[in-house]
C-alpha cells in the first residue's frame, strides 16, 4: 500500500480596522492534515484540522478504501523540492507599527474619508510527501493590505479600495502612489466622449473565470466548452499568450498541484499567440479523454484530487501603455462587481469605481457606468495588450495591466 500526506499550516496576525483606527488584533495558527492511501487501484482519503496523530489519519484513510473509489494512476515520486520564498516575514510588531503609521497619515491628510477592514501578515506552509520519494514543500510569507474607503459624505456602503500585497512593505512607494490616487477620488470627472473606449484593469476576474471554465480539459472534451473542437485554431489576437502559471513569484501559492506535479518552469502554455494549443488536465481526465497531462489537479487537503480551476496568467505582450493610447483618454476600472459572461461569451458588467487616466497618471474618478463586449472581441480585434504594471503600486509582486476597447453605456 502506498501512502501520501498533505500538510497545510497557516499563521496570521491581522489588524482589524474600523473608522480609520485599529479596532481589534487577531491571531491565527491553524494546521490541516490530509492522508491518502492507494491500494489495488483504489484511493482512500482522510483528514483533520489541528494536532491529530498521522497514524489515526492513516487508519481512517484505510477504512475509506472500502468505499471503492478508483485511482489507477501512478502517483508522483522521487522528487525533492523545498522552496522558501520569504525568510524574513513581517512580524506582528512590524505589522501594527506600519498599520498605525498608515492610519495616522490617513486620518490627518484624508479626514473626508473613512477606512476600514484588514491589514495582515500571513505565513503559509504547504507540504506534500509520499512513500514513493515525493517530498515537496512550499513556504512563503506576505503582508496584505485591503482597506475599503468610504467618503464621509457618501451614502454608499463603500466607495473604493486601497490594496497592497507583497513580501516587503515599502512605505515610500505606497504613499507615492496612493496620495495622487486618493486625490483622484476627490476629483470627479465626466466619462470621455465616445461609445467605445479603452478600458484597463489590473484584476480581470470575470475574464479569468470564464477562461478557466472554458479551458478545463473535462469541459473541453465533453463538448460543453465554448472552445470544444477548436484545438489548434486561432481564437484570439496574435499577441495573446495565456498560461497556467504556478510560479509563486507571480502569484502566491504552492508550485505543485494536488497530485504533486511540478511543471517545467512552473508553467504550461494554453493559448499561444492567440491559438488554442492546450487545455488543462489532472491525471484522471488526461487518461479518460486522451489529453496531455498538465499537472492541474486541485482539491481540499483532505479530498480527492479534482479538476476545477488553475492559476492563469497572461504573458506580458506590450510596452509603453501611454504610447498605446495615442493620446486618447482611457478608463481604469478598480471595482467592477456583479458582471458576468453568458455561456456564448457575451460580457457585461457595471463599473462601480473607475478612473480617468492617461496611461501614466490617474486623473479623476468617473461616474458609474456599464461596459459590454464579447470574449472574441476583448481578446481579438479590441485587445490593446497586457503590460507589466509599472504605473499603479499595489505591492512588490509583478502585477499586470490589461486593456481592451469596450462599449460603454452611461
Amino acid at each position: 500500500m502506498k501512502q501520501e500526506s498533505i500538510t497545510i499550516r497557516e499563521k496570521e496576525t491581522a489588524a482589524k480596522i474600523q473608522n480609520t483606527h485599529i479596532n481589534a488584533v487577531r491571531t491565527k495558527d491553524i494546521t490541516k492534515k490530509g492522508v491518502r492511501v492507494f491500494a489495488d487501484g483504489n484511493i482512500g482519503i482522510s483528514g483533520a484540522i489541528g494536532d491529530v496523530a498521522e497514524e489515526k489519519l492513516v487508519e481512517n484513510a484505510i477504512q475509506n478504501l472500502s468505499v471503492g473509489i478508483e485511482y489507477p494512476y501512478p502517483i508522483s515520486r522521487d522528487r525533492k523540492d523545498h522552496r522558501s520564498y520569504n525568510d524574513n516575514p513581517m512580524t506582528a510588531g512590524e505589522l501594527l507599527s506600519i498599520t498605525e503609521s498608515i492610519l495616522e497619515t490617513l486620518r490627518k491628510e484624508y479626514p473626508d474619508f473613512d477606512f476600514s477592514e484588514t491589514i495582515s501578515a500571513n505565513e503559509i506552509m504547504t507540504e506534500m510527501r509520499n512513500s514513493e520519494g515525493l517530498d515537496l514543500k512550499y513556504e512563503d510569507a506576505h503582508y496584505s493590505l485591503g482597506l475599503i474607503l468610504k467618503e464621509k459624505k457618501s451614502a454608499n456602503l463603500f466607495d473604493g479600495i486601497l490594496m497592497c500585497v507583497g513580501c516587503r512593505f515599502d512605505m515610500d512607494k505606497f504613499w507615492a502612489f496612493n496620495r495622487p490616487y486618493l486625490e483622484a477620488y476627490r476629483n470627479r470627472v465626466a466619462l470621455p466622449e465616445g461609445e467605445v473606449l479603452p478600458v484597463f484593469t489590473m484584476e480581470p476576474d470575470n475574464l479569468m473565470s470564464f477562461l478557466n471554465r472554458s479551458l478545463n480539459g473535462e469541459r473541453f472534451a465533453t463538448g460543453s466548452s465554448i472552445f470544444s473542437g477548436k484545438m489548434g485554431e486561432q481564437l484570439f489576437n496574435e499577441k495573446v499568450t495565456l498560461e497556467q502559471n504556478r510560479n509563486p513569484l507571480h502569484q502566491p501559492g504552492a508550485f505543485f498541484d494536488m497530485e504533486g506535479v511540478v511543471l517545467p518552469e512552473d508553467r504550461h502554455v494554453l493559448i499561444e499567440s492567440g491559438k488554442l494549443v492546450s487545455v488543462f488536465t489532472d491525471k484522471k481526465n488526461a487518461h479518460l479523454y486522451n489529453l496531455p497531462h498538465t499537472g492541474s489537479a486541485s482539491g481540499a487537503y483532505d479530498g480527492m484530487p479534482s479538476l476545477t480551476t488553475v492559476p492563469l496568467r497572461f504573458r506580458t505582450d506590450s510596452k509603453d501603455l501611454k504610447g498605446a493610447l495615442k493620446g486618447q483618454p482611457a478608463i481604469l476600472t478598480v471595482i467592477s462587481s456583479g458582471g458576468d459572461f453568458t455561456p456564448d461569451g457575451s460580457f457585461a458588467a457595471p463599473v462601480q469605481v473607475g478612473f480617468l487616466f492617461d496611461g501614466e497618471r490617474i486623473i479623476g474618478r468617473l461616474p458609474e457606468f456599464t461596459m459590454r463586449s464579447h470574449i472574441s472581441k476583448m481578446l481579438g480585434e479590441d485587445y490593446i495588450g497586457t503590460f507589466d504594471n509599472t504605473v499603479f503600486y499595489i505591492g512588490d509582486l509583478p502585477t499586470q495591466v490589461q486593456g481592451y476597447y469596450m462599449t460603454i453605456m452611461k
Binding site: 482589524k16 484588514t118 464621509k152 465554448i226 458582471g339 456564448d344 459590454r372
Partner: protein
Amino acid sequence: MYKFPKGLYVDVRIEETFDTKISFKKLTLQEQKIRNNRGAFIRVFDGRRWYYSSTTDINGIQAQIDALAQMATPNREILEHPIVKAFEVNQETIMEYDAKSVTDIPAQEKQELLESYLTLITDPTIVHHSSFYADNKTVKSIYTSKGTAVTFDKQTCGVRINLELSCGEKKNQTSISKAGVFFEDLLNLEDFFQTELEKNIAFTRDAELVIPGEYPVLLGPEATGVFTHESFGHKSESDFMVGDETMKAEWALGKRIGQSLLTIIDDGTVPGNGYVPYDDEGTKGKKTYIITEGILSGRLHSAATAAQLEESLTGNARAMNFEFEPIVRMTTTYIERGNRPLGDIVTEMENGIYVDTVKHGSGMSTFTLAPDRAYRIENGQIAGPVNVSVVTGNVFSALAEVDAVSEEFELMSFVGGGCGKMEQWPLPVGFGGPYVRVRKLKVQ
C-alpha cells in the same frame, strides 16, 4: 469552566462540526468524505480594543485566554462599557437535531439517494454532469465572562447537480440544488429534479441573446431572494453605519423606502441556512422587521453596533466558522408575502423580463443579478428564454420601484455557495420570498 481575567470581557465560542460530502462525475463515485472537526474562537475586550485568537487546541483555550489578556489593559469599569452592558446573558441548551441527526444516517444511504436522482439525467443535451450530496451538523457552545453559557445545534443537508449542456453551438453551465434540515427533506424529489432538468434543456436549446435596455422585471422567489439580499439586505447591516453620520441620516428609521406593499424581514429563527437560535456572541436569535409597509423600521446588529447606535440587539453577529470573529450578517432575509395572484401580475406586463433563477448577485451602490434562466414577457404572458449577462439597478431607488408582490411565496436553502462580506465567504444564509415586479431595471 474557564478562569476569566478580571477587568476584561471575554467570550469563547467552541464549534464541533460533522460534515459529509459525497460527489459523483456522471455515474462514477469521486469522493466520499466525512469530517469531524473542532475549533474555538476567543475574544478579549478591554474597552478600547478587541483581541482575538482562533485555535484547534480545545484543551488550550485557557492558555489562549491568558495570552490575549496579556495583550489587553485591564479596565475596572469594563462591565459599564456600553458594548459589554449590551451583551445578553443567556443560559440554555437547545439540541433540535439529536433526534433526526444526519450523523446517524449511513453514508451509503446518502450516496444511494444521490445516485437515484442521477438516473433522471438521460437527455443527450446534457453532455456532462457532476453532483454532490453534502450535510453539516454543528454544535456550538458559547461562554462569556458575563455569565452566558449556551449550547445549541444546527443542521443542513442538500443535493446539488451541476450540468454541462451543449446544443450545437449553444453551450450552458447551470446547476440544480435542493436543501433541507433533515435527510427526509431530500427524499422523493424526482418530480422537482425532472422539471428543473427539462427547463434547463429547453433554455439551452432555445435561448436568444436579450436586446439590452430598460425593462419592467418580474423576479421569481429565488431571484427575489437575491434581489432583497443585495439591493437592501447589506444596507441593513449596521456596521456600515457606525461612526458615519451620512449613512445614519440616509437610513434613518422612519424613512419611506418603498410602497406600502413592501415589508422586509430578517429572521434567525427560520430553520435552514440562516438558522441562528443564538448568534455567535450569545444573543438570542430574533425576527426583525427592517422595512414595514415601505417604512424603514429596523436594522441588523451585533452588540457593538447596537451599543454604538443605541438600538436593540437583533442576534445578527455571525462568523463564517471558528477561524473568524462575528460581524453583522443576515440570517434568513425575505420580502413578506403579498396579496396578488402571480397570474394577474404577469397579465399586466406588455413587454418585460422574467428572471427565474440566478447565478450570483452583488450589492454596492449598484446591485447586480446575473440570471441563470430568464425569459421575455410579451403581451401578458411568459414567452421565450433569453440569455442575460446582468440585471442592474440602483440600491437607493430600486425598492421604490417594486410595484407588485405575489401571494405565492417560497423560502429556500441551498448547498454550495453563500453570502460574502469582505474576507468571510461563504456564509450560509436563507432567502426567497414572493414573485416581485420591479418597474424598471437595466438588462444587459
